[in-house]
Every structure is written in structure tokens, then in C-alpha cells.
């Protein structure tokens, strides 16, 4: 045995000497068995002191050689600021009971009501393992966990890919399942029940759960020496508690469009009639995502388009492009542009009309309304002499929406109905190996 090993080593040394190379196997092993890290610090800030988020993320990858890889991703977010509640603006100040049911918050006349009691810290950890299964197959499996004050997510996923045509074509199939627990601050409100005075928790219920099943079929195709294309079909089925427990609808006068007034006991409660939203307890989404990368010599163009449709009546299109342009040998600049548009959910209502029969489902959440969004940004990257890379990205995100004309009643027309959103995204990244 020992002789065999010695003989093999001698043979390897002799072969290497003949080829004029140093012992290559060990060098390659050392190269492969390294950790690589991708880190990022992000600031996301909306105008008008709405949501502010500072987020730190670390993605670590350990290469065990032979295409076996372990990936770990840790993210921490701290969120503060105000979020649009769904209630309509008015010519008078509005008072609401906070989600906890212990205090009130107010919105001045003419302003879109924002709930400013919003504060959260989120931690997310994802891990996955990828390895070849047979000569042309790759399998991967992962687990994910995230936690917030009022929300816990637990998920698992698995995928299988097979290469064809000299590895120019890859077909893949993936499945993911998650179970989320929702523990709304102050309890989950009874759907379409009225906001009550401070201390009155009769319409608040217990925690709830949500399950999501995702399926993904993908084709990746090398089209030419400079071009690669990917097309995915995705299917997603959510069931359980899909409401946003903090979103409201104003109940308005059918003639004037003003919110129906109300006098709170001792002044500690809402001064108008507001109902908590109700969404269906299931949602099925389907999507097609197509992506292309093409190298024009050194610059690389990335272009993607996504179409999604769901049984809530929301269709969306997303077009995104990036152009990575090398500047000198060690730098690149990458302009980025994204356009998004969506139609409103069937049950989107900017407000509910007093005296009319309540619909089965209703939400005034602006994210379920009709809007367009544009993101314009630029990323700059620099490779250091040691081979690491730092980057800085600055983006501007703008949403502008419309309330359907037939939902606007009289005086509402003169007021801001859809709170347009402007946000700055600044990100600093550093990639290094150990």
C-alpha cells in the first residue's frame, strides 16, 4: 500500500516534471476550498418620513470542490417610520386607535393618513446545499427562517437541474413550501369590523398562519458565444391569513365622499368610521420570467421581463435592464433601469360607502391598487489589487398610482387619494474571500 502510494507520488512528480508544472492537484484543492463572502449595507428611505430601513446582509459560500457548495445568507433589518393605512384624506384632522389598542395617533387635515406606530426588526437566515447528483444532474436543497416582532417565517426548498446539448441547455424544476405565523400587534382584527376606542379589544382575535407553495420550471439556454437566456414559469399558491392586519378602509358619505364622523368615548378613539380590511384566504399567482445576458465585447447587457397574473385580478409587467460598462482594468459602472406596472385587485376599494351592503372582500391597501413604478440607478464597482471587490449603488424608486375614477366620490376628487411614494436606495457592498 505504502509502496503504491510512493509509486503514485513518484509517477505524479515525474509527470509534472515532464509537463513543467508544479504539483497542481493540491493547489487546485486549496483554491476551491475557500470561503467567499458577499456583504452589503443598505439604506432605504421613503420621503415624508415614511418607511426607513437600514439593512445589513452577509452571503457566505463555501466551495467544497467537485461543484459541491454550501451557501448561507444572513440579513438583519431595522425598520421605522410611517406607513399609509388605507384611510382616505379629509379636510379635517383624523384620529385613529393604534394597532395595539392602547393609544391614538392623528393625521392633520388634507394629509393621507399614515400609521406612525410602525417599528420592527427583522432577522432572516437562509442556507442551501448544492451538489451534482449524476453526470448531468445538479440537486440543491435549502432552509429559510425569518423573524419579526409580529411575523415568523419557516420555509424549505429543493430543486433539480439537468444539462443537455453539451451543457448548452439546462432544464430545472424547483419546489418550495413555507409556513408563516402572524401575530399582529394587539391581535388580528375581525375582518370588516369597525375600529374601536382605546382599550376596547372586542374585535381582536388570536394569531393566525399562512402557507405558501411555490413551483418553478426553468430553461437556461446558451444562444451563442456571447449570449445566454433563461425563461422561468412560476406558480405560487398562498392560503390562510392573507390580510394586512393594520390596513383600514374609510366609510364615506355617498353624496359628499367625506368619512362618516364619530364621537369617541372620552376622546380616546377614532373620530370617524373605519373598517379593517378583508382579503380572500387563498391566492394563486402564475408568472413568466425571461432574462438575457449579452456581452458586447467587454460591456455586458442584462435585460429581463416578467409577467405575472393572479386570481385576485392583479396583472403586472416588469421590465428591467442593466448595462455593466468597464472603466479601465479594475472598475465598472452599471446604469440600471426598472419599470413596473400593475392593475388593481378586484376587491380594491379606496373607501366603502355608508348605507351600501358590505362587499365580501375589500382592501384599500395601495399595494393592491393600480400603479406604475420606476427605478433609476447606478452601480459603481472597483476591484482591489488583492482581488476583492467593493461597490456602491444609488437608486431612486418612484411609485405613482390612480384610484379608479368610478370610486371617487364628489369632494374626494380635490384631495390626494393615492399617496405617491418616493424612495432612495443606497447600498454599499464588499466581496472578499478567505
Amino acid at each position: 500500500m505504502n509502496d503504491d502510494a510512493n509509486f503514485n507520488a513518484a509517477l505524479a512528480a515525474a509527470t509534472c516534471a515532464l509537463l513543467g508544472a508544479s504539483v497542481p492537484v493540491h493547489a487546485a484543492d486549496e483554491e476551491a476550498q475557500r470561503w467567499s463572502f458577499d456583504t452589503s449595507l443598505l439604506y432605504y428611505g421613503e420621503s415624508d418620513s415614511r418607511v426607513q430601513d437600514i439593512s445589513a446582509a452577509v452571503a457566505a459560500q463555501r466551495d467544497f470542490g467537485d461543484d459541491r457548495k454550501l451557501s448561507l445568507n444572513l440579513t438583519a433589518d431595522t425598520l421605522t417610520g410611517a406607513s399609509a393605512s388605507g384611510a382616505t384624506s379629509l379636510d379635517r384632522a383624523q384620529t385613529f386607535t393604534s394597532p395595539s389598542g392602547k393609544a391614538t395617533y392623528s393625521t392633520s387635515a388634507g394629509k393621507v393618513p399614515l400609521d406612525d406606530t410602525f417599528k420592527d426588526t427583522r432577522f432572516a437566515l437562509n442556507g442551501s446545499w448544492t451538489q451534482p447528483l449524476a453526470r448531468l444532474y445538479t440537486v440543491s436543497g435549502g432552509l429559510g427562517f425569518s423573524t419579526e416582532y409580529d411575523y415568523t417565517h419557516l420555509g424549505a426548498n429543493a430543486s433539480l437541474a439537468r444539462d443537455f446539448n453539451k451543457r448548452n441547455t439546462t432544464l430545472s424544476f424547483g419546489v418550495a413550501y413555507s409556513q408563516d405565523d402572524i401575530k399582529p400587534v394587539g391581535g388580528a382584527p375581525v375582518p370588516l369590523s369597525q375600529m374601536l376606542d382605546v382599550g376596547d379589544l372586542r374585535n381582536k382575535r388570536n394569531d393566525d398562519t399562512k402557507n405558501v407553495l411555490d413551483l418553478l420550471f426553468g430553461v437556461t439556454q446558451v444562444v451563442g458565444r456571447n449570449t445566454v437566456v433563461r425563461v422561468n414559469y412560476s406558480y405560487s399558491d398562498s392560503s390562510g391569513y392573507l390580510n394586512d392586519p393594520y390596513k383600514l378602509l374609510s366609510v364615506v358619505d355617498p353624496i359628499t365622499g367625506d368619512t362618516i364622523g364619530r364621537v369617541a368615548a372620552g376622546g380616546q378613539g377614532p373620530n370617524g368610521v373605519y373598517l379593517y380590511e378583508n382579503r380572500p384566504d387563498s391566492r394563486t399567482k402564475q408568472g413568466i420570467y425571461a432574462e438575457m445576458k449579452h456581452a458586447f465585447g467587454a460591456p455586458v447587457l442584462q435585460l429581463s421581463y416578467r409577467f405575472m397574473t393572479d386570481d385576485w385580478g392583479i396583472d403586472s409587467s416588469t421590465l428591467e435592464t442593466r448595462l455593466r460598462w468597464p472603466v479601465g482594468a479594475d472598475n465598472f459602472i452599471e446604469p440600471q433601469l426598472r419599470y413596473y406596472t400593475q392593475s388593481e385587485a378586484d376587491f380594491y376599494r379606496s373607501s366603502l360607502v355608508a348605507g351600501q351592503r358590505l362587499p365580501q372582500y375589500a382592501s384599500a391597501d395601495f399595494r393592491l391598487g393600480k400603479f406604475d413604478a420606476v427605478t433609476v440607478g447606478v452601480k459603481f464597482g472597483h476591484r482591489t489589487t488583492s482581488g476583492n471587490e467593493w461597490s456602491a449603488r444609488l437608486e431612486y424608486y418612484q411609485q405613482s398610482g390612480d384610484v379608479p375614477g368610478d370610486q371617487i366620490i364628489d369632494r374626494q376628487a380635490g384631495r390626494e387619494q393615492y399617496p405617491d411614494l418616493n424612495a432612495v436606495i443606497a447600498q454599499f457592498g464588499y466581496r472578499f474571500g478567505l
Binding site: S146, G155, A176, Y289, R306
Partner: protein
Amino acid sequence: MKYLLAAAALLILSGCSSIGVQPWERDVLARPEMSLDANALDAAIDDHIYFSKEASSGGRGFGGGGCGCN
């Protein structure tokens, strides 16, 4: 559905068999920035932002997990 998927897969495979490159023509495709997952962390961050601000999400791959995102 099963047959439809099988037929689609077959069509893609037969259609794709004539396009592509030889193994020694992969110099450009091997550049790190040509990988479709070259900026996985940026993509995960973007997905998380848009997930919390828009009604549609996902489609590219499996995202980094759920969120209350109010």
C-alpha cells in the same frame, strides 16, 4: 398538464439542440459577470424591497423568505 409540459420540454430540447457553443467557445460565458446569478445578493435585496412595496413578487427563483412587510 403533464403531457403538455412533456411536449413543451421536448420541443425546447429539440429546438435548442442546434444552438449553443462548443466547450472551447465558452471564454466569454465563463466571465463571472456573464453568470445569470452574478449578483445574487443584489437580486435578493431588490426582491425583498419590491416584495414589500408591490403586489407581484418572485419569478426569478426562490426568494429569501417571508416577511410581514407592512
